[in-house]
């Protein structure tokens, strides 16, 4: 019982602290004029859509023999829970399609359903198809990496082939706009 009371007092103290409670909310301030019901509902729809929007930061990198990236490209896509973002990478002898679908739970936890498909051609073998599918619980801002060519073992790091790496990071859209995506 005592622990519950202490916990409640901590919560109450945090809620009374200006700038912490509802900090990320786009709710109107008290001094704003009260809007008619119609406008208020329209605003709420806008704000709700904006607050639930996610920013998916996509970075593709190519590195040589486990060294730092020799080529990279970055892109940002806006999405919402349940809507997938598809990334297609096309090279001379390779096509990669990766599809990422974030699902946001009631407790704001995120499960990222990731599907990867790879088509690769080589002079010795016919066109090959590989795929991977997984669901990954992630935190906001946590990076998920996709290695379409597989992960090279440490022993084999002396070869001169290229590695492809796709990095995905999900942040709330509003936070990403503020530059919260920097490393």
């Amino acid at each position: 019982m005592m622990r519950v009371l202490v916990f409640l007092s901590v919560c109450a103290a945090f809620l009374q602290t200006p700038g912490l409670a509802a900090e990320d909310s786009l709710a109107p301030e008290n001094d704003e004029p009260r809007l008619p019901e119609k406008e208020r509902r329209l605003d709420e729809s806008f704000f709700s859509a904006l607050e639930n929007a996610l920013n998916m930061n996509i970075a593709a990198r190519i590195s040589e023999a486990g060294e730092s990236a020799v080529w990279n490209v970055e892109s940002n896509e806006c999405t919402v829970s349940g809507r997938s973002v598809s990334v297609k990478l096309v090279g001379k002898n390779i096509v990669i399609i990766a599809e990422f679908t974030p699902y946001v739970g009631a407790d704001n936890s995120i499960v990222l359903v990731a599907q990867g498909q790879v088509w690769i051609a080589s002079p010795e073998e016919p066109l090959k198809y590989l795929s991977a599918l997984t669901s990954i619980p992630v935190n906001l801002g946590e990076r998920v990496l996709f290695f379409p060519l597989g992960v090279k073992s440490l022993e084999a790091s002396a070869d001169n082939t290229y590695d492809i790496e796709l990095e995905i990071k999900i942040l709330p859209r509003l936070l990403a706009e503020k530059g919260g995506s920097s490393r």
Partner: protein
């Protein structure tokens, strides 16, 4: 044969493309029943258009949204710059809570990193139907996907497989000793 109601309704809304539109028009000239239904749909459409629709001032809503976003950006201070006043007991309880959470997290991390979620599936097969990359690209383009990010890889060098494609959380990858 008479068109169904959905098709007739689409025709009235001018949503049926040629040559089906012309064929429906010629059918309507001959079929009185369909003409009646068409008249009903058109009069319904007219009646609905006459109902005053709620006028939303989207520009004003957009301005309000922009103002709140700007206020939010101005008002967001880094956590360490915020003024927080807590009663002594609450502060002590918070410190205990943070300490307890830290210990809990440490114990959780020591428990291993096998929480990667659902089962990962990986497969490898030969694609018999498609012979070369150009044909593959044509097939994939025909599929078409909304919200697709297209990235052209540099033409230099061929890529080689090192294993099966794999998804990893960054923490798992770093744990593997690569970084």
């Amino acid at each position: 044969m008479c068109p169904d109601k959905q098709l007739l309704s689409a025709y009235c809304d001018d949503e049926v493309p040629s040559p089906w539109k012309e064929r429906l028009a010629s059918h309507l000239e001959e079929c009185e029943a369909c003409r009646k239904t068409e008249g009903l749909y058109r009069s319904l459409g007219r009646a609905l258009r006459e109902v005053p629709s709620p006028a939303f001032d989207l520009e004003a809503a957009s301005a309000r949204l922009a103002a709140r976003l700007a206020r939010r950006k101005r008002g967001r201070l880094p956590l360490w710059k915020k003024r927080v006043s807590l009663p002594f007991t609450a502060a002590a309880a918070a410190a205990l809570l943070i300490f307890g959470s830290g210990v809990g997290l440490c114990l959780a991390f020591r428990g291993g990193g096998e929480d990667a979620g659902g089962a990962a599936v990986s497969s490898r097969e030969n694609l018999a139907a498609i012979k070369d990359m150009n044909e593959l690209l044509e097939v994939l383009d025909r599929r078409g996907r909304a919200g697709e990010v297209f990235i052209k890889l540099p033409e230099t060098g061929d890529f080689e497989l090192k294993g099966n494609p794999v998804f990893l959380r960054e923490a798992e990858f770093s744990g593997g000793g690569r970084r």
